[in-house]
Amino acid sequence: MNRETRRILRRLLSNTSAILGFVLLIFFVVVAIFAPLFAPPPPNKDPYIMPIVTWSSNPLPPSPEHPFGVAGKRDIFYGVVWGTRTAFRVGIIVTLISTALGLLVGAVAGYFGKLWDEVLMRITDIFMAIPFLVAAMVLTTILGAGLDKVMIAMTAFSWMYPARLIRGNILQIKEEQFVLAAKALGVSDFSIILRHVLPNTIFPVLIQASMRMGSLVITAAALSFLGVGAPQGYADWGALLNYARNWMLGGQGEALKYWYMTVFPGAAMVLFVLAWNLVGDTLRDAFDPRLRL
């Protein structure tokens, strides 16, 4: 291991919030992978649809049988566990596609400049000017509800951030002499981007992507909460919160009577976002060239 790798590792391990971030993230990964063990789905049913456990539409408080309680006839614990998978799926797919799209747009705009830059960046500006939630709702109404539609809508409105970032970085790297040196050697534009420019600009994009991961899950949840996201009964944190809509204010003189309906899915969401942000922060610190000796 060279000195730099050692330094990065040491920096990661000496930081409590970094460790907390990684522990949380690993915890969620474990929950997602072993979801069938933690909350076994009923046989021969789609495990992502939360099974109905009661016929009463009133929520039930936590009990040994339903440790997180019951909401909308469905077990909250089951929803939180399988919702983790949903969260990862939405987050990872949307982040990957939007980052790839953003990389392409940003790289072309930044490296080739001139007209490419003008056109692509103006399109980016237009997309950034549209209020996201409104656009996503319009788009899902056109495309119809459903998790895949939500993901399409979210991808369509989040590629601009990596695009802008990568363009800015490329503009900077492009002026570096090693890019000129590669040109002078006769290396083609395409491989200059691939071999020299991207490896030197990719880290900030990955860091940004990990930060975006958390916020995307919140957005997805918000859409679900508004009823344009996951279908009825789908294991999703936002959908769980949707069930709580009518009970949030409590009842029978007790404001917090139905606390479990919001606290468990809410906590899952907050911790998930926190995990990604901490990891993103850590990566940024570890790879920040200004902190290098």
């Binding site: 330094r7 040491r10 920096r11 000796l293």
Partner: protein, 335 residues
Amino acid sequence: MKENTPLLQVQDLKVYFYTEEKEELRAVDGVSFYLKEGETIALVGESGCGKSVTSLAILRLIDSDGKIQGGKIILRGRDLLSLSEKEMREIRGRDISMIFQEPSSALNPVYTVGDQIMEAIILHQKLPRPQARKAAEEALRLVGIPEARKRLDEYPHELSGGMKQRAMIAMALSCHPKVLIADEPTTSLDVTIQAQILELIAELQHRLNMGVILITHDLGVVAGMAERVVIMYAGKVVEEGSRWDIFHHSFHPYTWGLLHSIPRLDIKQEKLAIIPGAVPDPLNFPSGCRFRNRCPLADELCLTEPQWREIESQHYVYCHHYSQVEVLKTRGFER
């Protein structure tokens, strides 16, 4: 006699830096020299030799990664290292001023040139603004900036590189300091502008009777400006003497190598001497003599620290084999 009490004395100065891994980096490790009133000395060395750190230490401007771990810096009988931060602030700019290598980053882009010069004047001389403005204008005129009054209201970006360096000098000299530290003042400038600025510094030094510490790697500049020369290598002073001592009969192999390896304008050199290797990493300075791994004269003796010897009057050298340096003339610098 005034001549005998130096204006500024640096004694056994040690400045260490600490990396994130708590490694100790001995950037300046026991440096001593003195500066007399109205005299110009040059601190000469390559990157990492500690010359800039030394100058920052004199002003106690070492950043938080570094610490002054020992030594004394005596300005007219007062040890600067024993002063409080408040007392030190009064010294800076009033008694000791500094000009930097990069004039464009040393001037604040959001204030006018006049405001920046007036800041120091108001601070140290407690003048009201109109007088301070007059003084600032006078300072600009002193450094040969044409249309001084108009320039007061201009922003740094409106000035050329040479003009910025002049404005910086005006700022440094606005309170008539006794000591001016010039850290590579012309390195970022073109030769024709460098000639202007060097002439200006020499002239002002004479007129204001300042002591000037010129920090540079350019031996050409040193030969034209400095009365005494302090050669630094890897955090140590390796040789000190008058400029004739240094340029005509240097005793340290490093000084000798430097002088013979630099391309000269005045003669055609068939082949330049080469000092092998590179400047050592400050985290891994060799033990004993720090130059030994690049030195053609090095032997086992050099594993121990050399002594600081006065070879001739006021000519000091830090080398075991100073007496053999003549050998290099015939043998060359290759090992």
